[in-house]
Subunit: 139 residues, 4 copies
Protein backbone atom coordinates (compact mmCIF):
# COMPACT_ATOMS: atom_id res chain seq x y z
CA UNK A 1 0.00 0.00 0.00
CA UNK A 2 1.51 3.32 -0.99
CA UNK A 3 2.04 6.32 1.23
CA UNK A 4 -0.69 8.49 -0.33
CA UNK A 5 -3.23 5.78 0.42
CA UNK A 6 -2.20 5.42 4.05
CA UNK A 7 -2.22 9.21 4.43
CA UNK A 8 -5.78 9.58 3.24
CA UNK A 9 -6.89 6.79 5.55
CA UNK A 10 -5.27 8.49 8.54
CA UNK A 11 -6.79 11.82 7.45
CA UNK A 12 -10.23 10.26 7.20
CA UNK A 13 -9.81 8.60 10.59
CA UNK A 14 -8.86 11.92 12.18
CA UNK A 15 -12.10 13.48 10.93
CA UNK A 16 -14.25 10.81 12.63
CA UNK A 17 -15.44 12.67 15.70
CA UNK A 18 -17.18 9.65 17.25
CA UNK A 19 -13.97 7.62 17.18
CA UNK A 20 -12.12 10.51 18.82
CA UNK A 21 -14.87 10.72 21.47
CA UNK A 22 -14.36 7.02 22.16
CA UNK A 23 -10.59 7.52 22.48
CA UNK A 24 -9.88 5.24 19.51
CA UNK A 25 -6.70 5.29 17.48
CA UNK A 26 -5.79 3.78 14.15
CA UNK A 27 -3.31 0.91 14.38
CA UNK A 28 -1.65 -1.06 11.62
CA UNK A 29 -3.03 -0.61 8.11
CA UNK A 30 -2.09 -2.72 5.12
CA UNK A 31 -3.79 -3.86 1.92
CA UNK A 32 -7.17 -5.27 2.83
CA UNK A 33 -6.57 -4.93 6.58
CA UNK A 34 -6.97 -2.22 9.22
CA UNK A 35 -6.75 -2.19 13.00
CA UNK A 36 -8.39 0.18 15.49
CA UNK A 37 -7.58 0.25 19.19
CA UNK A 38 -9.71 1.83 21.92
CA UNK A 39 -9.70 1.97 25.70
CA UNK A 40 -12.99 1.20 27.48
CA UNK A 41 -13.66 4.70 28.73
CA UNK A 42 -16.27 5.27 31.42
CA UNK A 43 -18.19 7.38 28.91
CA UNK A 44 -18.63 4.33 26.63
CA UNK A 45 -20.01 1.87 29.17
CA UNK A 46 -23.43 0.25 29.45
CA UNK A 47 -25.54 -0.24 32.55
CA UNK A 48 -23.52 -3.19 33.91
CA UNK A 49 -20.18 -1.39 33.66
CA UNK A 50 -18.90 -3.19 30.56
CA UNK A 51 -18.19 -1.47 27.24
CA UNK A 52 -21.46 -0.78 25.39
CA UNK A 53 -22.20 -2.89 22.31
CA UNK A 54 -22.07 0.43 20.47
CA UNK A 55 -18.38 0.74 21.31
CA UNK A 56 -17.43 -2.67 19.89
CA UNK A 57 -19.69 -1.97 16.92
CA UNK A 58 -18.20 1.47 16.21
CA UNK A 59 -14.59 0.33 16.14
CA UNK A 60 -15.42 -2.99 14.44
CA UNK A 61 -17.42 -1.24 11.72
CA UNK A 62 -14.74 1.41 11.20
CA UNK A 63 -11.91 -1.15 11.04
CA UNK A 64 -13.84 -3.00 8.35
CA UNK A 65 -14.49 0.23 6.49
CA UNK A 66 -10.83 1.23 6.49
CA UNK A 67 -9.82 -2.26 5.41
CA UNK A 68 -12.07 -1.69 2.39
CA UNK A 69 -10.67 1.80 1.80
CA UNK A 70 -7.12 0.43 1.47
CA UNK A 71 -8.24 -1.17 -1.80
CA UNK A 72 -9.94 1.88 -3.33
CA UNK A 73 -8.67 4.78 -5.41
CA UNK A 74 -7.90 8.04 -3.67
CA UNK A 75 -11.07 9.74 -4.92
CA UNK A 76 -13.33 7.26 -3.11
CA UNK A 77 -14.80 6.99 0.36
CA UNK A 78 -16.79 4.03 1.71
CA UNK A 79 -20.07 3.92 3.55
CA UNK A 80 -21.45 0.95 5.44
CA UNK A 81 -24.42 -0.61 3.73
CA UNK A 82 -25.09 -3.29 6.33
CA UNK A 83 -23.23 -4.95 9.12
CA UNK A 84 -24.08 -7.63 11.67
CA UNK A 85 -22.41 -8.07 15.00
CA UNK A 86 -22.41 -11.24 17.09
CA UNK A 87 -21.38 -10.44 20.65
CA UNK A 88 -19.30 -13.21 22.18
CA UNK A 89 -18.19 -11.97 25.61
CA UNK A 90 -18.45 -8.82 27.76
CA UNK A 91 -16.26 -5.89 26.72
CA UNK A 92 -14.04 -5.75 29.80
CA UNK A 93 -10.28 -5.37 30.05
CA UNK A 94 -7.58 -2.82 29.44
CA UNK A 95 -8.53 -2.01 25.83
CA UNK A 96 -10.30 -3.27 22.74
CA UNK A 97 -8.66 -4.09 19.42
CA UNK A 98 -10.72 -4.31 16.22
CA UNK A 99 -9.20 -6.00 13.19
CA UNK A 100 -11.02 -5.50 9.91
CA UNK A 101 -10.38 -7.33 6.65
CA UNK A 102 -11.80 -7.55 3.15
CA UNK A 103 -13.39 -10.88 2.31
CA UNK A 104 -14.25 -10.04 -1.26
CA UNK A 105 -13.31 -6.83 -3.04
CA UNK A 106 -15.52 -5.42 -5.76
CA UNK A 107 -16.17 -2.31 -7.76
CA UNK A 108 -19.75 -1.83 -6.56
CA UNK A 109 -19.50 -3.31 -3.10
CA UNK A 110 -16.96 -4.97 -0.82
CA UNK A 111 -17.76 -7.75 1.61
CA UNK A 112 -15.86 -7.26 4.86
CA UNK A 113 -15.41 -8.86 8.27
CA UNK A 114 -14.06 -7.62 11.56
CA UNK A 115 -13.18 -9.21 14.87
CA UNK A 116 -12.97 -7.37 18.15
CA UNK A 117 -10.78 -8.54 21.03
CA UNK A 118 -10.48 -7.35 24.63
CA UNK A 119 -7.00 -7.30 26.10
CA UNK A 120 -7.21 -8.64 29.62
CA UNK A 121 -4.12 -9.46 31.70
CA UNK A 122 -2.04 -9.75 28.57
CA UNK A 123 -4.49 -12.06 26.81
CA UNK A 124 -6.82 -11.35 23.92
CA UNK A 125 -10.44 -12.42 24.42
CA UNK A 126 -12.59 -12.56 21.28
CA UNK A 127 -15.59 -10.40 22.18
CA UNK A 128 -17.31 -9.68 18.86
CA UNK A 129 -17.48 -10.86 15.26
CA UNK A 130 -18.84 -8.63 12.50
CA UNK A 131 -19.62 -9.23 8.83
CA UNK A 132 -20.78 -6.51 6.50
CA UNK A 133 -20.97 -4.78 3.15
CA UNK A 134 -19.21 -1.53 2.25
CA UNK A 135 -20.15 0.65 -0.71
CA UNK A 136 -17.61 2.94 -2.43
CA UNK A 137 -18.81 6.51 -2.97
CA UNK A 138 -17.10 9.57 -4.46
CA UNK A 139 -15.27 11.71 -1.88
CA UNK B 1 -46.90 -2.10 31.87
CA UNK B 2 -46.77 -1.36 35.57
CA UNK B 3 -44.90 1.45 37.24
CA UNK B 4 -42.17 -0.69 38.80
CA UNK B 5 -41.27 -2.02 35.38
CA UNK B 6 -41.04 1.41 33.80
CA UNK B 7 -38.98 2.64 36.76
CA UNK B 8 -36.36 -0.07 36.40
CA UNK B 9 -36.11 0.61 32.69
CA UNK B 10 -35.52 4.31 33.31
CA UNK B 11 -33.01 3.44 36.05
CA UNK B 12 -31.15 1.11 33.70
CA UNK B 13 -31.16 3.74 30.94
CA UNK B 14 -29.70 6.32 33.31
CA UNK B 15 -26.77 4.03 34.07
CA UNK B 16 -25.84 3.71 30.36
CA UNK B 17 -22.91 6.07 30.11
CA UNK B 18 -22.55 5.78 26.35
CA UNK B 19 -26.15 6.85 25.78
CA UNK B 20 -25.60 9.84 28.07
CA UNK B 21 -22.41 10.69 26.14
CA UNK B 22 -24.45 10.65 22.93
CA UNK B 23 -27.07 12.94 24.49
CA UNK B 24 -29.80 10.29 24.16
CA UNK B 25 -32.98 10.25 26.19
CA UNK B 26 -35.59 7.56 26.73
CA UNK B 27 -38.93 8.33 25.09
CA UNK B 28 -42.19 6.41 25.26
CA UNK B 29 -42.04 2.92 26.72
CA UNK B 30 -44.87 0.40 26.62
CA UNK B 31 -45.19 -3.37 26.55
CA UNK B 32 -42.93 -4.66 23.83
CA UNK B 33 -41.94 -1.17 22.64
CA UNK B 34 -39.36 1.45 23.56
CA UNK B 35 -38.24 4.70 21.97
CA UNK B 36 -34.89 6.49 22.28
CA UNK B 37 -34.26 9.99 20.96
CA UNK B 38 -30.84 11.56 20.32
CA UNK B 39 -29.49 14.72 18.76
CA UNK B 40 -26.69 14.37 16.21
CA UNK B 41 -23.96 15.88 18.32
CA UNK B 42 -20.69 16.92 16.72
CA UNK B 43 -18.94 14.37 18.93
CA UNK B 44 -20.92 11.53 17.27
CA UNK B 45 -20.20 12.34 13.63
CA UNK B 46 -18.22 10.47 10.99
CA UNK B 47 -15.76 11.85 8.49
CA UNK B 48 -18.40 13.28 6.13
CA UNK B 49 -20.20 15.22 8.86
CA UNK B 50 -23.19 12.86 9.21
CA UNK B 51 -24.01 10.88 12.33
CA UNK B 52 -21.69 7.85 12.61
CA UNK B 53 -23.21 4.42 11.99
CA UNK B 54 -22.24 3.75 15.61
CA UNK B 55 -24.74 6.39 16.75
CA UNK B 56 -27.69 4.89 14.88
CA UNK B 57 -26.54 1.45 16.02
CA UNK B 58 -26.22 2.43 19.68
CA UNK B 59 -29.69 3.93 20.00
CA UNK B 60 -31.29 1.30 17.74
CA UNK B 61 -29.74 -1.54 19.73
CA UNK B 62 -30.69 0.03 23.05
CA UNK B 63 -34.28 0.72 21.96
CA UNK B 64 -34.62 -2.94 20.97
CA UNK B 65 -33.08 -4.03 24.28
CA UNK B 66 -35.48 -1.93 26.34
CA UNK B 67 -38.42 -3.15 24.26
CA UNK B 68 -37.37 -6.66 25.33
CA UNK B 69 -36.91 -5.61 28.94
CA UNK B 70 -40.52 -4.41 29.16
CA UNK B 71 -41.56 -8.07 28.92
CA UNK B 72 -39.19 -9.46 31.55
CA UNK B 73 -39.44 -9.84 35.31
CA UNK B 74 -37.81 -7.23 37.51
CA UNK B 75 -34.85 -9.47 38.39
CA UNK B 76 -33.70 -9.70 34.77
CA UNK B 77 -31.50 -7.64 32.49
CA UNK B 78 -30.96 -8.24 28.77
CA UNK B 79 -27.79 -8.41 26.73
CA UNK B 80 -27.57 -8.25 22.96
CA UNK B 81 -26.59 -11.56 21.43
CA UNK B 82 -26.52 -10.39 17.82
CA UNK B 83 -27.91 -7.53 15.84
CA UNK B 84 -27.73 -6.49 12.20
CA UNK B 85 -28.15 -3.00 10.90
CA UNK B 86 -29.04 -2.01 7.33
CA UNK B 87 -28.24 1.64 6.77
CA UNK B 88 -30.78 3.32 4.50
CA UNK B 89 -29.87 7.01 4.38
CA UNK B 90 -27.35 9.42 5.93
CA UNK B 91 -27.96 10.38 9.58
CA UNK B 92 -28.59 14.07 9.08
CA UNK B 93 -31.28 16.29 10.55
CA UNK B 94 -32.35 17.75 13.86
CA UNK B 95 -32.40 14.49 15.80
CA UNK B 96 -32.69 10.71 15.53
CA UNK B 97 -35.53 8.59 16.89
CA UNK B 98 -35.08 4.85 17.43
CA UNK B 99 -38.17 2.71 17.90
CA UNK B 100 -37.59 -0.82 19.17
CA UNK B 101 -40.14 -3.62 19.32
CA UNK B 102 -40.30 -7.29 20.23
CA UNK B 103 -41.02 -9.58 17.30
CA UNK B 104 -41.12 -12.81 19.29
CA UNK B 105 -40.84 -13.01 23.08
CA UNK B 106 -39.28 -16.06 24.70
CA UNK B 107 -37.88 -17.30 27.95
CA UNK B 108 -34.40 -17.99 26.60
CA UNK B 109 -34.17 -15.37 23.92
CA UNK B 110 -36.25 -12.59 22.39
CA UNK B 111 -36.19 -11.63 18.73
CA UNK B 112 -36.37 -7.87 18.32
CA UNK B 113 -36.37 -5.20 15.64
CA UNK B 114 -35.70 -1.51 15.65
CA UNK B 115 -36.08 1.31 13.14
CA UNK B 116 -34.21 4.57 13.28
CA UNK B 117 -35.55 7.79 11.78
CA UNK B 118 -33.96 11.21 11.25
CA UNK B 119 -36.21 14.21 11.83
CA UNK B 120 -35.53 16.71 9.09
CA UNK B 121 -37.71 19.80 8.53
CA UNK B 122 -40.56 18.18 10.40
CA UNK B 123 -40.39 14.94 8.43
CA UNK B 124 -39.15 11.53 9.50
CA UNK B 125 -36.65 9.86 7.17
CA UNK B 126 -36.09 6.13 7.71
CA UNK B 127 -32.30 5.86 8.08
CA UNK B 128 -31.69 2.42 9.58
CA UNK B 129 -33.37 -0.94 10.15
CA UNK B 130 -32.10 -3.39 12.77
CA UNK B 131 -33.04 -6.96 13.66
CA UNK B 132 -31.52 -8.83 16.55
CA UNK B 133 -31.63 -11.28 19.42
CA UNK B 134 -31.69 -10.35 23.10
CA UNK B 135 -30.82 -12.76 25.91
CA UNK B 136 -32.28 -12.35 29.44
CA UNK B 137 -29.68 -12.54 32.22
CA UNK B 138 -30.01 -12.18 36.00
CA UNK B 139 -29.50 -8.61 37.26
CA UNK C 1 -47.29 -2.36 -12.10
CA UNK C 2 -47.77 -2.99 -15.79
CA UNK C 3 -48.41 -6.29 -17.47
CA UNK C 4 -44.96 -6.65 -19.06
CA UNK C 5 -43.35 -6.33 -15.66
CA UNK C 6 -45.55 -8.97 -14.06
CA UNK C 7 -44.98 -11.26 -17.04
CA UNK C 8 -41.20 -11.16 -16.73
CA UNK C 9 -41.46 -11.83 -13.00
CA UNK C 10 -43.60 -14.90 -13.60
CA UNK C 11 -41.23 -16.02 -16.38
CA UNK C 12 -38.26 -15.64 -14.06
CA UNK C 13 -40.06 -17.53 -11.30
CA UNK C 14 -40.84 -20.40 -13.66
CA UNK C 15 -37.14 -20.79 -14.45
CA UNK C 16 -36.21 -21.22 -10.77
CA UNK C 17 -35.75 -24.96 -10.55
CA UNK C 18 -35.24 -25.01 -6.78
CA UNK C 19 -38.56 -23.28 -6.16
CA UNK C 20 -40.27 -25.80 -8.44
CA UNK C 21 -38.55 -28.64 -6.55
CA UNK C 22 -39.95 -27.20 -3.31
CA UNK C 23 -43.45 -27.01 -4.83
CA UNK C 24 -43.55 -23.23 -4.48
CA UNK C 25 -45.82 -20.95 -6.48
CA UNK C 26 -45.85 -17.22 -7.01
CA UNK C 27 -48.75 -15.44 -5.32
CA UNK C 28 -49.77 -11.81 -5.46
CA UNK C 29 -47.24 -9.40 -6.94
CA UNK C 30 -47.53 -5.62 -6.83
CA UNK C 31 -45.12 -2.67 -6.77
CA UNK C 32 -42.57 -3.34 -4.08
CA UNK C 33 -44.27 -6.54 -2.89
CA UNK C 34 -44.27 -10.22 -3.83
CA UNK C 35 -45.70 -13.34 -2.24
CA UNK C 36 -44.55 -16.96 -2.56
CA UNK C 37 -46.51 -19.92 -1.24
CA UNK C 38 -45.14 -23.41 -0.63
CA UNK C 39 -46.35 -26.63 0.94
CA UNK C 40 -44.06 -28.33 3.47
CA UNK C 41 -43.18 -31.32 1.31
CA UNK C 42 -41.53 -34.35 2.89
CA UNK C 43 -38.54 -33.72 0.63
CA UNK C 44 -37.96 -30.32 2.30
CA UNK C 45 -37.98 -31.42 5.93
CA UNK C 46 -35.22 -31.44 8.53
CA UNK C 47 -34.37 -34.15 11.03
CA UNK C 48 -37.23 -33.38 13.42
CA UNK C 49 -39.91 -33.49 10.73
CA UNK C 50 -40.41 -29.73 10.40
CA UNK C 51 -39.66 -27.72 7.28
CA UNK C 52 -35.90 -27.16 6.95
CA UNK C 53 -34.60 -23.63 7.58
CA UNK C 54 -33.48 -23.81 3.95
CA UNK C 55 -37.12 -23.97 2.85
CA UNK C 56 -38.18 -20.84 4.74
CA UNK C 57 -34.98 -19.15 3.58
CA UNK C 58 -35.47 -20.07 -0.08
CA UNK C 59 -39.00 -18.74 -0.36
CA UNK C 60 -38.31 -15.75 1.90
CA UNK C 61 -35.24 -14.77 -0.10
CA UNK C 62 -37.05 -15.22 -3.42
CA UNK C 63 -40.09 -13.23 -2.29
CA UNK C 64 -37.78 -10.38 -1.31
CA UNK C 65 -35.94 -10.64 -4.63
CA UNK C 66 -39.16 -10.47 -6.67
CA UNK C 67 -40.40 -7.56 -4.57
CA UNK C 68 -37.21 -5.77 -5.65
CA UNK C 69 -37.65 -6.82 -9.27
CA UNK C 70 -41.09 -5.18 -9.44
CA UNK C 71 -39.28 -1.82 -9.21
CA UNK C 72 -36.64 -2.46 -11.87
CA UNK C 73 -36.59 -2.01 -15.64
CA UNK C 74 -37.26 -5.00 -17.84
CA UNK C 75 -33.59 -5.45 -18.75
CA UNK C 76 -32.57 -6.10 -15.15
CA UNK C 77 -32.38 -9.12 -12.88
CA UNK C 78 -31.54 -9.08 -9.18
CA UNK C 79 -29.13 -11.16 -7.17
CA UNK C 80 -29.04 -11.45 -3.41
CA UNK C 81 -26.02 -9.76 -1.91
CA UNK C 82 -26.73 -10.64 1.71
CA UNK C 83 -29.70 -11.77 3.73
CA UNK C 84 -30.25 -12.64 7.38
CA UNK C 85 -32.99 -14.88 8.69
CA UNK C 86 -34.25 -14.97 12.27
CA UNK C 87 -36.22 -18.16 12.84
CA UNK C 88 -39.19 -17.60 15.15
CA UNK C 89 -41.10 -20.89 15.27
CA UNK C 90 -40.98 -24.37 13.70
CA UNK C 91 -42.10 -24.61 10.08
CA UNK C 92 -45.13 -26.84 10.61
CA UNK C 93 -48.62 -26.56 9.17
CA UNK C 94 -50.43 -26.85 5.88
CA UNK C 95 -48.23 -24.47 3.92
CA UNK C 96 -45.82 -21.55 4.18
CA UNK C 97 -46.40 -18.04 2.84
CA UNK C 98 -43.48 -15.65 2.27
CA UNK C 99 -44.22 -11.96 1.83
CA UNK C 100 -41.35 -9.83 0.53
CA UNK C 101 -41.23 -6.05 0.40
CA UNK C 102 -38.81 -3.30 -0.52
CA UNK C 103 -37.71 -1.17 2.40
CA UNK C 104 -35.56 1.24 0.39
CA UNK C 105 -35.26 1.20 -3.40
CA UNK C 106 -32.04 2.32 -5.05
CA UNK C 107 -30.21 2.25 -8.33
CA UNK C 108 -27.20 0.33 -7.02
CA UNK C 109 -28.85 -1.74 -4.32
CA UNK C 110 -32.25 -2.30 -2.76
CA UNK C 111 -32.83 -3.04 0.90
CA UNK C 112 -35.56 -5.63 1.34
CA UNK C 113 -37.40 -7.55 4.03
CA UNK C 114 -39.50 -10.68 4.04
CA UNK C 115 -41.70 -12.44 6.55
CA UNK C 116 -42.62 -16.10 6.41
CA UNK C 117 -45.80 -17.48 7.95
CA UNK C 118 -47.04 -21.04 8.47
CA UNK C 119 -50.73 -21.63 7.92
CA UNK C 120 -51.96 -23.91 10.68
CA UNK C 121 -55.66 -24.62 11.27
CA UNK C 122 -56.62 -21.47 9.41
CA UNK C 123 -54.22 -19.27 11.37
CA UNK C 124 -50.96 -17.67 10.28
CA UNK C 125 -47.98 -18.22 12.58
CA UNK C 126 -44.99 -15.93 12.00
CA UNK C 127 -42.09 -18.36 11.59
CA UNK C 128 -39.27 -16.31 10.08
CA UNK C 129 -38.15 -12.72 9.51
CA UNK C 130 -35.57 -11.83 6.87
CA UNK C 131 -33.77 -8.62 5.97
CA UNK C 132 -31.40 -8.30 3.05
CA UNK C 133 -29.81 -6.46 0.18
CA UNK C 134 -30.53 -7.07 -3.52
CA UNK C 135 -28.27 -5.92 -6.35
CA UNK C 136 -29.63 -5.20 -9.85
CA UNK C 137 -27.67 -6.86 -12.66
CA UNK C 138 -28.19 -6.89 -16.44
CA UNK C 139 -30.33 -9.81 -17.68
CA UNK D 1 -14.71 -36.65 19.27
CA UNK D 2 -15.93 -40.10 20.26
CA UNK D 3 -17.66 -42.60 18.06
CA UNK D 4 -21.11 -42.26 19.66
CA UNK D 5 -21.06 -38.55 18.94
CA UNK D 6 -20.12 -38.98 15.30
CA UNK D 7 -22.77 -41.69 14.94
CA UNK D 8 -25.56 -39.49 16.16
CA UNK D 9 -24.46 -36.70 13.85
CA UNK D 10 -24.51 -39.03 10.85
CA UNK D 11 -27.91 -40.38 11.98
CA UNK D 12 -29.28 -36.88 12.25
CA UNK D 13 -27.88 -35.96 8.84
CA UNK D 14 -29.51 -38.98 7.27
CA UNK D 15 -32.91 -37.87 8.57
CA UNK D 16 -32.61 -34.45 6.87
CA UNK D 17 -34.80 -34.95 3.83
CA UNK D 18 -33.96 -31.57 2.26
CA UNK D 19 -30.24 -32.34 2.30
CA UNK D 20 -30.93 -35.70 0.66
CA UNK D 21 -33.09 -33.94 -1.96
CA UNK D 22 -30.16 -31.63 -2.69
CA UNK D 23 -27.81 -34.61 -3.04
CA UNK D 24 -25.69 -33.47 -0.08
CA UNK D 25 -23.41 -35.73 1.91
CA UNK D 26 -21.68 -35.28 5.23
CA UNK D 27 -17.90 -34.93 4.95
CA UNK D 28 -15.30 -34.68 7.69
CA UNK D 29 -16.57 -34.08 11.19
CA UNK D 30 -14.39 -33.21 14.17
CA UNK D 31 -14.78 -31.24 17.39
CA UNK D 32 -16.23 -27.89 16.51
CA UNK D 33 -16.10 -28.52 12.77
CA UNK D 34 -18.30 -30.17 10.13
CA UNK D 35 -18.21 -30.33 6.35
CA UNK D 36 -21.05 -30.88 3.90
CA UNK D 37 -20.57 -31.49 0.19
CA UNK D 38 -23.22 -31.12 -2.50
CA UNK D 39 -23.36 -31.21 -6.29
CA UNK D 40 -25.18 -28.37 -8.04
CA UNK D 41 -28.12 -30.41 -9.26
CA UNK D 42 -30.44 -28.99 -11.92
CA UNK D 43 -33.25 -29.21 -9.38
CA UNK D 44 -31.41 -26.71 -7.10
CA UNK D 45 -30.73 -23.97 -9.64
CA UNK D 46 -32.06 -20.43 -9.91
CA UNK D 47 -33.27 -18.58 -12.99
CA UNK D 48 -29.78 -17.88 -14.39
CA UNK D 49 -28.63 -21.49 -14.17
CA UNK D 50 -26.43 -21.12 -11.07
CA UNK D 51 -27.06 -22.85 -7.76
CA UNK D 52 -29.88 -21.07 -5.88
CA UNK D 53 -28.91 -19.04 -2.79
CA UNK D 54 -31.11 -21.52 -0.93
CA UNK D 55 -28.67 -24.32 -1.81
CA UNK D 56 -25.61 -22.54 -0.42
CA UNK D 57 -27.68 -21.48 2.57
CA UNK D 58 -29.00 -24.98 3.28
CA UNK D 59 -25.62 -26.68 3.32
CA UNK D 60 -23.88 -23.72 5.01
CA UNK D 61 -26.50 -23.61 7.76
CA UNK D 62 -26.42 -27.37 8.25
CA UNK D 63 -22.61 -27.50 8.37
CA UNK D 64 -22.66 -24.83 11.08
CA UNK D 65 -25.37 -26.72 12.97
CA UNK D 66 -23.43 -29.97 12.92
CA UNK D 67 -20.26 -28.17 13.98
CA UNK D 68 -22.24 -27.03 17.02
CA UNK D 69 -23.66 -30.51 17.61
CA UNK D 70 -20.17 -32.00 17.89
CA UNK D 71 -19.82 -30.08 21.17
CA UNK D 72 -23.14 -31.10 22.74
CA UNK D 73 -24.22 -34.07 24.81
CA UNK D 74 -25.95 -36.94 23.08
CA UNK D 75 -29.41 -35.96 24.36
CA UNK D 76 -29.31 -32.61 22.57
CA UNK D 77 -30.22 -31.37 19.12
CA UNK D 78 -29.61 -27.88 17.78
CA UNK D 79 -31.90 -25.49 15.97
CA UNK D 80 -30.84 -22.39 14.09
CA UNK D 81 -31.87 -19.21 15.84
CA UNK D 82 -30.52 -16.81 13.24
CA UNK D 83 -28.06 -16.90 10.41
CA UNK D 84 -26.84 -14.37 7.86
CA UNK D 85 -25.37 -15.20 4.50
CA UNK D 86 -23.18 -12.91 2.39
CA UNK D 87 -23.04 -14.19 -1.17
CA UNK D 88 -19.63 -13.66 -2.74
CA UNK D 89 -19.76 -15.31 -6.16
CA UNK D 90 -22.15 -17.37 -8.31
CA UNK D 91 -22.60 -21.02 -7.27
CA UNK D 92 -21.16 -22.64 -10.37
CA UNK D 93 -18.74 -25.54 -10.67
CA UNK D 94 -18.56 -29.25 -10.06
CA UNK D 95 -19.75 -29.18 -6.45
CA UNK D 96 -20.11 -27.05 -3.34
CA UNK D 97 -18.32 -27.60 -0.04
CA UNK D 98 -19.62 -26.02 3.17
CA UNK D 99 -17.31 -25.88 6.18
CA UNK D 100 -18.92 -24.99 9.48
CA UNK D 101 -17.15 -24.12 12.72
CA UNK D 102 -17.98 -23.02 16.23
CA UNK D 103 -16.79 -19.52 17.06
CA UNK D 104 -17.96 -19.52 20.67
CA UNK D 105 -19.51 -22.50 22.44
CA UNK D 106 -22.05 -21.99 25.20
CA UNK D 107 -24.65 -23.78 27.22
CA UNK D 108 -27.56 -21.63 26.06
CA UNK D 109 -26.39 -20.72 22.59
CA UNK D 110 -23.43 -21.29 20.28
CA UNK D 111 -22.11 -18.73 17.83
CA UNK D 112 -21.12 -20.38 14.57
CA UNK D 113 -19.72 -19.54 11.15
CA UNK D 114 -19.64 -21.35 7.85
CA UNK D 115 -17.95 -20.80 4.52
CA UNK D 116 -19.11 -22.26 1.25
CA UNK D 117 -16.77 -22.94 -1.66
CA UNK D 118 -17.42 -23.98 -5.25
CA UNK D 119 -14.98 -26.45 -6.77
CA UNK D 120 -14.23 -25.32 -10.29
CA UNK D 121 -11.48 -26.87 -12.40
CA UNK D 122 -9.74 -28.14 -9.29
CA UNK D 123 -9.86 -24.76 -7.53
CA UNK D 124 -12.00 -23.66 -4.62
CA UNK D 125 -13.86 -20.37 -5.09
CA UNK D 126 -15.26 -18.80 -1.92
CA UNK D 127 -18.93 -18.25 -2.77
CA UNK D 128 -20.64 -17.59 0.57
CA UNK D 129 -19.90 -16.63 4.17
CA UNK D 130 -22.38 -17.30 6.96
CA UNK D 131 -22.49 -16.35 10.63
CA UNK D 132 -25.19 -17.50 12.99
CA UNK D 133 -26.49 -18.63 16.34
CA UNK D 134 -27.47 -22.19 17.25
CA UNK D 135 -29.64 -23.11 20.22
CA UNK D 136 -29.39 -26.53 21.92
CA UNK D 137 -32.74 -28.26 22.48
CA UNK D 138 -33.61 -31.66 23.98
CA UNK D 139 -33.81 -34.43 21.38
Amino acid sequence: MDRANEDRIRDSFNRQALLKTLGASLGAVREGHAEIVAPILDLAKQQQGFGHAGLAFSIGDSAAGYAALTLLELDKEVVTSEIKINLLAPAMGERLIARGRVIRPGRRLLVVASDVYAERDGQEIHIAMLTGTMVPVPV
